[in-house]
């Protein structure tokens, strides 16, 4: 019996390359998941078929397996995937591509020493990656509002500040507090208070870009890092958020609830500033905004 058909019943992708990176084998798993027939792939150069794989890291890894006969491991954590295969239906919301754990293995011929081919094994680990992603999200998101939590915010603030300091990149911050939030709780109940927190968070998020980092900093306090943004535009964004919240009518169980926000905006950090002093400037600005009557945007110093 010819056992090579075992390769075609495995729940594992197998691709074999020769020393010129030509594909010499493309198993049934690869056919099914990539949607590309083996005949189309055979004898094609891997890097012509998948130009995105032509990176220094991947080139080095192949070269190393051919030269040293070591195994090379592409973990999902670090690389996501090697072959751009669409994620299966239920995971499409989380991942565009199937998450893979891949290994390059040396294949030897003749004297048993010289590596003549490389076998790439492709394992679908999307399900595990999805669980892991959910767990991670739970770890850095505020469960009520979906904004980031304070711990994540603090670590990102340090990073963004370091980037600003080292590469002279601009950065801005907004500290936002819902005015008279206690009276919302007292008048309409805590469930309505939670609803307002969620809704205001969504309103703020709608005024931000994908790269901005919105976090729930405390009870009714939100903080937002605006990377690559100078002070003046950050004041405009703050004013837009203030206006949006003021004009919004939130409906909770048939009752209309209106709230406003006060926003503190620190001026661009100067030499000697630290993430802590920058945050304190935002806090002082917010304090000032509260003091002069709320529903306003104030900068400091």
């Amino acid at each position: 019996m010819n056992f090579t058909n075992v390769f075609d019943i495995l729940n594992l992708g197998i691709v074999i390359l020769d020393a010129e990176y030509r594909i010499r084998y493309w198993n049934e798993w690869m056919v099914i998941h990539s949607g590309i027939a083996a005949e189309e792939m055979l004898d094609r150069n891997l890097f012509d078929a998948y130009p995105a794989l032509d990176t220094p890291v991947i080139r080095r890894s192949f070269k190393s397996v051919f030269t040293f006969g070591n195994f090379f491991f592409f973990s999902q954590k670090l690389h996501g995937y090697l072959f751009p295969i669409k994620a299966l239906g239920s995971f499409q919301g989380q991942f565009e591509h199937m998450q893979q754990s891949c290994t390059l293995c040396p294949l030897r011929e003749g004297d048993g020493i010289k590596v003549t081919h490389i076998c790439i094994t492709v394992q679908d680990v999307t399900e595990v990656a999805a669980y892991e992603k959910t767990l991670l999200e739970m770890n850095y998101r505020d469960s009520l509002t979906g904004a980031y939590n304070r711990r994540y915010f603090t670590s990102r603030l340090k990073e963004e500040f370091e980037r600003h300091r080292r590469y002279k990149r601009s950065m801005s911050m907004l500290m936002i507090d819902i005015d008279h939030f206690k009276s919302v709780n007292d008048t309409h109940g805590h469930q309505c208070g939670d609803f307002i927190l969620k809704s205001v968070s969504a309103t703020i998020q709608s005024a931000l870009r994908r790269v901005d980092i919105l976090a729930r900093y405390g009870g009714e306090e939100f903080c937002c890092i605006l990377p690559e943004t100078t002070f003046e535009p950050s004041m405009m964004i703050a004013e837009r958020i203030r206006g949006l919240v003021e004009s919004e009518t939130y409906i909770y169980e048939g009752q209309a609830v209106r709230v406003t926000v006060s926003i503190g905006v620190p001026r661009a950090p100067v030499s000697g500033d630290t993430p802590e002093s920058f945050l304190k400037n935002a806090d002082d600005a917010l304090y000032e905004a509260k003091k002069i009557g709320r529903n306003t945007v104030i900068s400091f110093p």
Binding site: P56, F68, N70, F71, L78, E159
Partner: protein, 215 residues
Amino acid sequence: MTAVPSSEILGTEERDILQEIMNIGFGAAAADLAGVIDLYVQLSVPTVTVLPAPELPDYIRREVPDAREISIIEQNFWSKFKGIALLAFTAGAGRALLGMMGDLDEQSFESDPMRILEKETLMEVGNILVGACVGKVAELLGDVVTYSPPRVLIGDLSDTNVSKRIFDPGNYVIILQTIFHFGQQDVRGYLFLIASHESIGWLKHALRSFMSQYE
């Protein structure tokens, strides 16, 4: 602990042959590494040490300066030549290597709290260095080796009680050791190839076979 003296585990002549094989093997590895990772790699003269397994963590701590803040790449290898490879880098090596290998751009700076890129580089370079050195020594001894995926451990070496996890405390280990220097910068990697007790019998036989081709 076993009462057998270490000189009986590996005799003087056997040590000399192993030393010679490491000189050839690691030398060839260094030459080939330049072609694979585009980095000039210099290796110190390799050494062979025979130790009772429980003494291994202390030995490694003594050999690596500032062992409190290091990254270790750990990888098992198995065949007739079987054991564990530990490659210790001092703090900041991941970042320095990233810069040297030209993979560092501004966008990737500290974008992830786990410093994924540094870890990835250490893992990649570690995998290649271990593969090169183990592979060349095994090749000279007529063996072909398989590897486990590398793992990166960051932190204090004293937490890594390798011998307890991997080796029977009653046994000896043979340590093949060298230091890597990368490029012009002062980045060093301390490589320990720790052959398990099980492979000592095979190793002695392979060393004799290696010498017989010159006799």
